[in-house]
Every structure is written in C-alpha cells, then in structure tokens.
C-alpha cells in the first residue's frame, strides 16, 4: 500500500490519503456489483444440469463438473459440416473485418481531423447523425442493395458494410484532433509522404484509440450470426451454429451455459490484452506538443 501511494504521489501531486482510500472503497463496492454477470456465467457453466434447475436457486455452483462442456463437444461432433468450419468462418470474418475497419476508418478520420478541404464538416456531421437512425428500418433497403450487388450468401455482405461503421470514424476523429499539428508538419518537412505521416506518426500517437476501437468491432463481428445474408451451411458462423445447438430447449440449458462462457472468453482475453497495452503507451508517452 505504501509503495502504491508513493508511485501515485510521483505521478500526480494533488492527492490526499483519505481521498485515495475512499476511491478504492467505492471502486471495490461497485466492482462487485458490475462483476456479477462474469461470476454468474462462470459459476453457471460448471453447474451440472440438476443444479441449474435447483430449488431454491443458488448463485454459486456446489458440485462443479465439466459435464456441460463434454455434452457440448458431443453435440459439436454431430453437426452437418465439421464444427471447425464454423470456428474458422467466424475467425476469418472477425479478423478481416476488424483490421479492415480500423485502417479504413482511421484513414478517413485522419483527413477529417487534420486536413482542410471543402465539405469535410458536412461529411463528418452526416456520419455522426447516421448513428441516430434506427437500424431496424434500414434492414430492407440494405438487403435490396446486397441483392443488387449479388452479395447475398457471400462474406462481402457482412464484412464490407462493417468497414464503414460510423462509430469507428467518429471515435478515431475525436482522438486524431488532439495530435499537435507541429508533429505532423515536422514529418512532412522531413519529406515523408502523407500516407507515411498517417501510418508512422498519427497512428502510433493515437494507439489508445484504435486499441479501444478493436474491441468494439471485434465484439460486433465475433457475435454476428450472418442473419439474413448467409444461407449456405458451410459459410455459417459460430454463433449461428451454437444457436442451433441451443434450440434444443430446456434440456440444453447446461450446454447453453457452457456456450455462453466459451463465447465470452475470446473477446475478454482480447480485451485484457488491449487494455494492458493502452496502459503501457500511457506510461511512455501521452500526446505532447
């Protein structure tokens, strides 16, 4: 505790011990409240079937077992196409879509924040406003566009629209605005091409922003079922295949808990990796003039 306080004191001078303690107490109290779903999901996945329907219900597992996971693997082996195909499909969509989106959105955000050209404010306002229109009613026009492009039942229909996800451009633009112009100008004077300025100066400076964006896009794509666009069995995604397994109803409640936990594990792992990286950049830099 003493060591921690010294470090805090070195970094930020305006801190009182009582304030730090209050801070920690509040965070622990609310932390327990917010950690509820994680604890519940983990505990549920290890409950044998009879314990899931136990009355009176129990929050924590009493006799943890791997029964649910074993059942899940048996069900996976019975699927129409090899189950690994679903996993591969989802991994492909997620990786291509996430990387593509971060590059496409950051490039657009970079010029919107740092170049001056006609209609840039208008374009940006349209992007922000588009976040406010309900996606429920755009489903039909979107489908018609996809079918016009002959993209139904291909991954284009899922990946390409994701590249221009409005939220990503908005987030990146907000962070790019904070990059000091002098930093970019210096690189230009040294003869760097505009793309190099973007890629080697701007992007590393806003690392916390795109590490955060990766999480948002990854979560979206990882949970995508392919919805109305994908019909071929061999193109279907992991969440879709798992939904099929869970359609077995109440008898599959144990498997459902295992599925929920497994699906959560990947984004959470990625989340922990990106968060610890954000914190590393913080200790070395910060945006400086």
């Amino acid at each position: 505790m003493v060591k921690v306080r010294i470090r805090l004191k070195q970094r930020k001078p305006n801190r009182s011990l009582s304030g730090d303690i209050t801070n920690i107490v509040i965070l622990i109290f609310f932390g327990l409240f917010f950690a509820l779903p994680l604890i519940y999901a983990i505990s549920n996945a290890f409950k044998p079937l009879d314990e899931i329907f136990l009355f009176p219900p129990r929050f924590f597992v009493r006799n943890p077992s791997l029964e649910n996971f074993q059942d899940l693997f048996i069900l996976m082996q019975q699927s129409w196409v090899p189950f690994s195909r679903y996993i591969l499909n989802t991994v492909f969509i997620t990786v291509v879509g996430t990387v593509g989106h971060v590059v496409v959105a950051s490039m657009a955000a970079y010029v919107l924040a740092k170049h001056k050209f006609p209609s840039r404010t208008l374009f940006f306002s349209i992007v922000v406003a588009s976040l406010m229109f309900s996606y429920h009613v755009t489903a039909i026009p979107s489908y018609l566009i996809m079918s016009f492009l002959k993209w139904i039942d291909t991954y284009y229909a899922i990946i390409i629209p994701q590249l221009a996800y409005s939220l990503g451009l908005f987030l990146m633009k907000q962070f790019m605005e904070q990059i000091p112009d002098s930093l970019l100008e210096a690189a230009r004077i040294d003869g760097a091409s505009e793309f190099r300025v973007f890629w080697q100066i701007a992007m590393p400076t806003v690392k916390p922003a795109w590490l955060t964006l990766v999480i948002f896009v990854f979560q979206n794509l990882w949970n995508t079922t392919g919805g109305t666009y994908i019909y071929s069995e061999e193109l279907k995604t992991l969440p879709f295949a798992l939904q099929q397994i869970l359609a077995g109803g109440i008898a599959r409640a144990g498997v459902a808990a295992a599925v929920a936990l497994l699906m959560m594990t990947v984004p959470i792992t990625l989340f922990i990796i990106t968060q610890s990286n954000i914190i590393q950049t913080m200790t070395t830099s910060g945006i400086k003039e």
Partner: protein, 313 residues
C-alpha cells in the same frame, strides 16, 4: 468554402464546375484517404437511411409495392395512436434518467479507475466493462427481479420484514420502469466508458505537473481545469453514444418486462417501431417512427454539444 462568398447567380455553371474540379484536384490526397470510407458509407448507410425516410411517406407492407400517402403516417402516429404517445413519454423518461446518469457514471468511474496503479487498473476496466462484454448476461436480472419463488430481491425484502408479500417487479406497471432503469444503468458503462479510459490515458502528464505549480490544490480542481478540458473530444463522443443508446432502449426490455409490457408501461419508441416493422409489417409507419426518433436525437445532440463546449471555462 470560398464558393459561398461568391453570389451564385452570376457565375455560369461551367465556371462553377471547373472551379469545383480544381478544388477537388488541389485536395486530391485528402479525398483519396476519404474515398474508401465515403464510398462504403454512402452505399450501405446513407442510401438505406434515405430510402427509409422516403418510405415513411408511403404505405408499405413489404408484400406490395409502396403506395404514396404523404404525411398520413405521421398524422396517425401523433394524433391517433395513444400507444405511441405512451411510448414517447416513456422514451423521454428513460432518456432523461439513464442518459445523464449513465454518462456521468461512465466518466466518474473511468476517472477513478485511472487513479489506480497500471496492473490493477487493467483488471478494474475489465470488471466494470463486464456487463457489456458478456453478451446477454443481463438476463440474470430476471432471476433477481423474478416475481415467483425464484426471485432474490423480494425474498430478501420479505426476510428483513420490509415487505410482506411478493411484488411482481417486472409485470406490475408501477415498478416495471424502475426495474428497467436499474438494469439499463447497470449496463451503461459501454462505449463511452472505454473512450473515456482511452482519453484519460492520452493526456500529457506534464500538464498535471505545471498545474501543480500553478496552484491547483486538489483532485477536483485538477479534474475541472486540466483533465476535462484535455479530453473534450472524448466527452463529445461519449455524449453522442449516451444519446443514441438512451433513446433507443428496447432489446434489454424484451426479456425483462416482456414485449409488449403490461399496459405498455415500459413501451418505448423503438419497441413501437419494432412492433410495426417486424410484427405488423407496416414498414411505412415504422420508418416514420424512426424518422421522428432521429429528429428527437439530433435535436438533443445539438443542445448537449452546446453545453459541453462550456466545460472547463
């Protein structure tokens, strides 16, 4: 931009086009950076939105081609549809409570977590973001609020002698909205929260040191005079995210209070939209609802952005 200053009438169209073209060529690099995004965004977002707005002036049942009916959908909604007015009232109530509280909670927790030493900080971010990242985990609130013998909350209240008989939290119209608001707030540390965390990490530490020299005395002054002004772009981003989510509450409500909820007590504008669009297949009306909601959100956003400019002054 210069084109605005020159009166439009006196210049022949040809000159104007060539002027615009020269402008495009001068900014070639900028437009090339923007092009991939702009193209995809136009095709898959702008066009569908414009088509929907157009459909809001039609009767469109998906099975037959749309029929033009002018403002009839809007008139029906605002003058003839009692449920829509209930939905409107509920939406504004939910937005007015969950929007600001969720926003400040996200900011407050992000700021507090940022005080912690690095390793603990990463763990805390994961814990606070857990309700959002763990998919449909909010379903556990069903068990907590359940009105039957499985319900944790009323069983505890009965045990402590605060109430004497079970309360149907999720079906009784007088408790339903409160229950829903609690769950929504519990899930409000999402996009905005993470952008605040990232924003706080990007602030230059020397600003704090010079602030100390300039006589800033405690963490509150530091927050108002240094931290918040340094993360204005993130504050704006978080505000827009709060508006879009607090005006569009629906998915959370379905497993919680049912769809439709008892007496429409927790029916929101988006619930109404989904009812028309996905159940009755009246896409014209659904589009009109979406357009009205869009106008409400853009208006709120305009006001909030103006308020946020004042931060740190």
């Amino acid at each position: 931009m210069a084109a605005v200053i020159i009166p439009n009438t006196k210049i022949p169209i040809k000159t104007r086009i060539s002027y615009a073209w020269a402008e495009v060529k001068r900014n070639k690099v900028s437009y090339m950076f923007l092009a991939p995004y702009a193209l995809i965004f136009t095709v898959f977002t702008v066009i569908p939105v414009l088509v929907s707005m157009g459909l809001s002036f039609t009767y469109f049942s998906i099975l037959e081609p749309p029929k033009w009916i002018g403002f009839q959908n809007y008139i029906n909604l605002l003058l003839d549809d009692e449920v829509f007015l209930i939905a409107l009232k509920n939406t504004f109530l939910f937005a007015a409570i969950t929007g600001p509280i969720g926003y400040f909670a996200a900011l407050f927790f992000a700021w507090m977590i940022n005080e912690l030493p690095p390793k603990i900080r990463a763990i805390m971010v994961v814990i606070f973001y857990a309700p959002t990242i763990s998919g449909q985990a909010y379903i556990i609130w069903n068990t907590l609020f359940s009105g039957d013998a499985y319900g944790y909350i009323h069983s505890m209240l009965i045990r402590f002698g605060i109430i004497y008989e079970p309360i149907q939290w999720l079906t009784d119209p007088s408790y339903m909205r409160t229950a829903a608001i609690i769950v929504v707030l519990w899930m409000s540390l999402g996009t905005g929260f993470l952008s605040f965390i990232a924003g706080l990490q990007s602030i230059d530490n020397t600003l704090y040191e010079s602030g100390y020299v300039d006589g800033i005395q405690n963490r509150w002054q530091e927050l108002w005079y240094i931290t918040l002004p340094s993360m204005k772009p993130q504050l704006l981003f978080g505000a827009v995210m709060s508006i879009t989510s607090s005006f569009a509450i629906h998915e959370i409500l379905v497993p919680l209070v049912g769809f439709p909820s008892t007496d429409y007590a927790a029916h929101t504008v988006v619930s109404h939209l989904v009812d028309y669009g996905n159940i009755r297949f009246e896409m014209g009306t659904a589009s009109a609802i979406a357009t009205l909601l869009f106008i409400a959100m853009v208006g709120t956003n305009w006001i909030v952005q103006r308020l946020l400019r004042k931060v740190g002054n």
